[in-house]
């Protein structure tokens, strides 16, 4: 009771903060303080629940119908990243997007940011179809306004409209889902459904959930709104969109699956395969991006694919009553949700710092920023290692869960999806390492590629602080993961009723050993670094300033001679489906001047969907003639409809007997 009240109070704080920031002359400090207070309340409640507090609920009535808010371990698992990233983003946004900007965009940004966090908090508590849909729409609409913050730019407007259309299509499916659930359970309250005789119904509900929530989670054919929306939004908004809002899709899928008495066997394998394809697709396109925020967005698609693989694995375990598969699959998914929230918001904050300092999102215009922005580079580096799933950082462990689960299921006779999952996960991990080597190398190493990078500087402390906190958490979670195992066990108990708490008992020893090895490695790296660094420190500081970052045998390298991001990623061109290059054929001993052009188009959204939609619109335009603008004609339509209905009532009795 206390916990759910605390979380509700937190949503109230965020809402009050949002309203306060919308009113002029209210000091910004007040609004920020309210938001941070809300975050602390919710974090406290969620942690209390995950470390052993009982699940608590609140029953009330909406227009005479019973409704329920409930805080259980699954909700708490999602509230944790929401309020961590939400609070840090609030601090970050103070100086990143000052309130006094033109067009009042600063004010509307703060308002919708608070509304978004409050709506998502409500969403994670709702156990009533209607309340859930209302919170879902509130979230979707505030995200639309957040994406469109810079609405004076046409590409931003376009991105936000595409997002709105996609999210509403998803809501349409979700409405159908809510109605279906209500028909099954006899009310809008979300309670466990009775066991059914046909697995088709449960499969249908799950597939509808995957399709409806998949729009939000960016699963493969439904992802196309995501890159441009994330690239267009202000960076701390991109962070919360990527770190939490995409995960509401996963939350919905998981929540609906907890209502079902059973999960049909095929669904888990299908979701696993879909997740693997999504991960590969996301990372392949991430490799092809020049826009570093778009790169991060595609990497989010990859990570959501990995999370979906975990959910699929957990469902397979639930269908076959295999406790280890459930534990590893669901545990890996939830753990990866936390980890992705940590490192992806860190990366987006870093990207925001770069954008703030240089004003461009083009990687090829930057370079050598580690010298100009040392703090940013240092803070972003752990996230780059984490996203590539390298130890000792956090994402390594969550992917390790999945690897163990996939190998286990390979041994237990569900081979096709597990094999595909293993290959997909390994390939995605390797390609992510390449993509982020490119990201870090092109942006922070080498020499500046244009004037823009020359005047870059580290951001103010209020922007560095959130990055430092997240970087510290990335490392701390990587080393102290054994502390999180009991928390994950509690979440798994919600997702798979009756599953024993396996993770804490079974993996603790492994995690201790891993942490020890990682600590040893860290110490080795630190020693090696000191050893390598020794001779450099011997060179006088005045001479150091002139040395290039990376000499590689060239005495006097020019800027244009270094690798560009695109040339670095060129070797992996076959996995970049959206990249088109145009290169003229060079003939003769002395060919004339020629130019090489490379362009990226989103393979599904822009190449496949856009021309078809344009054709559809052209066809639908013919119906414009039905709308002549004369009032009597519209009234005539009403009259004809009325007549039609009446005549139908006349003949119905005769026709149908």
């Amino acid at each position: 009771m206390l916990d759910v009240a605390l979380v509700l109070a937190s949503a109230g704080c965020w809402l009050a903060g949002a309203l306060a920031s919308a009113v002029p002359r209210v000091p910004e400090r007040l609004a920020t303080g309210l938001g941070l207070l809300g975050s602390l309340l919710a974090l406290g409640a969620a942690l209390h629940l995950l470390t052993g507090g009982p699940a608590s609920g609140l029953d009330f009535r909406v227009w005479g119908f019973p409704a329920r808010l409930e805080l259980d371990a699954l909700s708490a698992a999602f509230l944790l990243p929401l309020h961590l990233v939400g609070g840090l983003g609030l601090i970050y946004g103070q100086r990143y997007w000052p309130a006094q900007l033109a067009w009042g965009s600063g004010r509307s940004l703060r308002f919708f940011y608070g509304l978004l966090v409050a709506a998502m908090t409500l969403l994670f508590l709702a156990r009533h179809g209607l309340v859930f849909l209302v919170a879902w729409e509130l979230m979707a609409v505030s995200a639309f306004f957040l994406v469109g913050t810079e609405h004076e730019k046409p590409e931003v407007r376009r991105a936000s409209w595409v997002y709105l259309a996609c999210t509403h299509t998803g809501t349409l499916l979700l409405t159908a889902l809510v109605i279906l659930l209500a028909q099954r359970s006899g009310g809008l309250l979300w309670t466990a459904l009775p066991a059914s005789t046909s697995p088709w119904l449960e499969g249908g509900i799950l597939l509808l959930a995957v399709a409806g929530f998949g729009f939000k989670a960016g699963l493969l054919p439904l992802h196309f709104w995501l890159p441009s929306a994330h690239a267009s939004a202000p960076s701390h908004v991109s962070a919360i969109l990527s770190a939490v809002m995409l995960k509401t899709g996963i939350y919905g899928i998981l929540r609906v699956s907890t209502l079902l008495p059973d999960v049909p066997r095929g669904v888990g394998g299908t979701l696993l395969a879909l997740g693997a394809l999504t991960a590969l697709y996301g990372v392949g396109n991430a490799l092809a991006q020049r826009d570093y925020k778009r790169l991060l967005a595609y990497s989010s698609i990859e990570n959501l694919g990995i999370i979906a693989m975990g959910v699929g694995l957990g469902w397979t375990g639930r269908a076959t009553r295999d406790p280890w598969l459930m534990a590893l699959g669901f545990g890996g998914a939830i753990f990866h949700i936390w980890n992705h929230a940590l490192f992806k918001s860190l990366l987006f904050y870093g990207a925001g710092a770069l954008l703030h300092a240089t004003g461009t999102r083009d990687m090829e215009a930057l370079g050598g920023l580690a010298r100009k922005m040392p703090r940013t580079a240092l803070a972003v580096f752990p996230a780059v290692l984490a996203v590539a799933a390298l130890p000792p950082f956090n994402a390594f462990l969550s992917e390790w869960f999945l690897y163990r689960g996939l190998f286990a299921s390979l041994g237990r006779g569900y081979p096709w999806s597990a094999a595909l999952g293993l290959v997909g996960l390994a390939l995605a991990g390797g390609l992510a390492a390449v993509a982020f080597a490119r990201f870090f190398g092109t942006l922070f190493l080498g020499s500046p590629r244009s004037e823009l990078a020359h005047h870059a500087h580290d951001p103010v402390p209020s922007m560095v602080l959130p990055m430092a906190v997240l970087a510290g958490l990335c490392l701390a979670v990587g080393l102290g993961a054994f502390l999180l195992l009991p928390l994950l066990d509690r979440v798994i108990a919600v997702l798979a009723p009756g599953a024993p708490a396996l993770l804490a008992a079974g993996l603790r020893a492994d995690f201790h050993r891993l942490a020890a090895v990682e600590l040893g490695l860290l110490i080795l790296v630190a020693l090696g670094f000191r050893w390598l660094r020794g001779p450099v420190d011997a060179i006088p500081a005045a001479a150091q300033a002139d040395l290039p970052t990376w000499d590689c045998g060239y005495a006097a390298p020019v800027v244009r001679a270094q690798y560009t991001g695109s040339s670095f990623a060129d070797a992996w061109a076959p996995v970049q489906p959206g990249l088109r290059a145009r290169m003229p054929r060079l003939r003769g001993l002395f060919p004339g001047a020629a130019s090489f052009r490379q362009a990226f188009r989103e393979p599904f959204g822009e190449v496949f969907l856009e021309p078809r939609l344009a054709r559809l619109v052209e066809r639908l335009l013919r119906f414009r003639r039905l709308q002549p603008g004369h009032l009597p004609v519209y009234l005539l339509y009403v009259l004809l409809t009325l007549l039609g209905i009446l005549v139908w009532m006349l003949v119905r009795g005769r026709l149908l007997g």
Partner: protein
């Protein structure tokens, strides 16, 4: 006996409405129809219910006094010509109205009625009035004559509502009256705005607003 007479008069006034070529005549017929229907509950012998009497008085007051008052003001303000100016000729309108009345008789014959309804003519009359209102709305060009059509349409709905008057009187009638009032009010404003914007009240000009 008396209700049947009133209903017959209502149906007759439908025909007069579509056949008249003068705006002021059309308004007068619509007002007459409204007053006739306002008296219906009393004629049906429902005078023993106080609230029904009250609502009947309200209906007569609104339809017999307030709405004509609004019409007169609008006529004075916008200087409309007297011609009704229809899309469809008067003869054709009359035939369509007759067709609608016939159809509604046919329909009412086939509609299941609440057992114990005494006035068999009420349903066909209300449907016929509805059709007449629609016909006026669709076929007349001026904004003011369209308001007349709207008024007739509402009369039809009112007549239909009388079937239920004993079961849910306040709800039905207050709803209808409020609806009518708001409708006329809004259309009055619209008429004025059309005149200001286009210097005429011909609704054809509204097509220019199409995007």
């Amino acid at each position: 006996m008396l209700p049947d007479l009133l209903i017959a008069l209502t149906m007759l006034s439908n025909f007069s409405l579509v056949a008249t070529s003068r705006v002021s005549k059309a308004i007068q017929f619509a007002v007459l129809q409204g007053v006739l229907l306002g008296l219906m509950p009393l004629a049906m012998g429902l005078g023993r219910h106080f609230h029904i009497v009250l609502l009947a008085f309200a209906a007569v007051a609104v339809k017999g006094w307030f709405i004509p008052f609004l019409f007169r003001r609008a006529l004075k303000q916008v200087h409309i010509q007297r011609e009704v100016d229809p899309y469809i000729g008067y003869t054709v309108s009359l035939m369509l109205c007759a067709l609608g009345t016939g159809l509604s008789l046919l329909l009412a014959h086939n509609l299941p009625l609440k057992p114990g309804t005494e006035y068999a003519l009420m349903v066909p009359a209300s449907l016929a009035t509805l059709f007449t209102g629609f016909l006026l709305l669709v076929s007349r060009r001026k904004a003011l004559t369209q308001v007349v059509g709207y008024l007739v349409l509402e009369n039809g709905i009112y007549l239909f509502g009388l079937l239920l008057v004993e079961d849910m009187p306040a709800l039905v009638e207050a709803g209808i009256l409020l609806d009518l009032f708001v409708g006329i009010f809004v259309m009055g404003i619209v008429i004025n705005h059309i005149r200001v914007a286009f210097d005429s009240t011909d609704t054809r000009h509204l097509a220019e607003l199409k995007d």
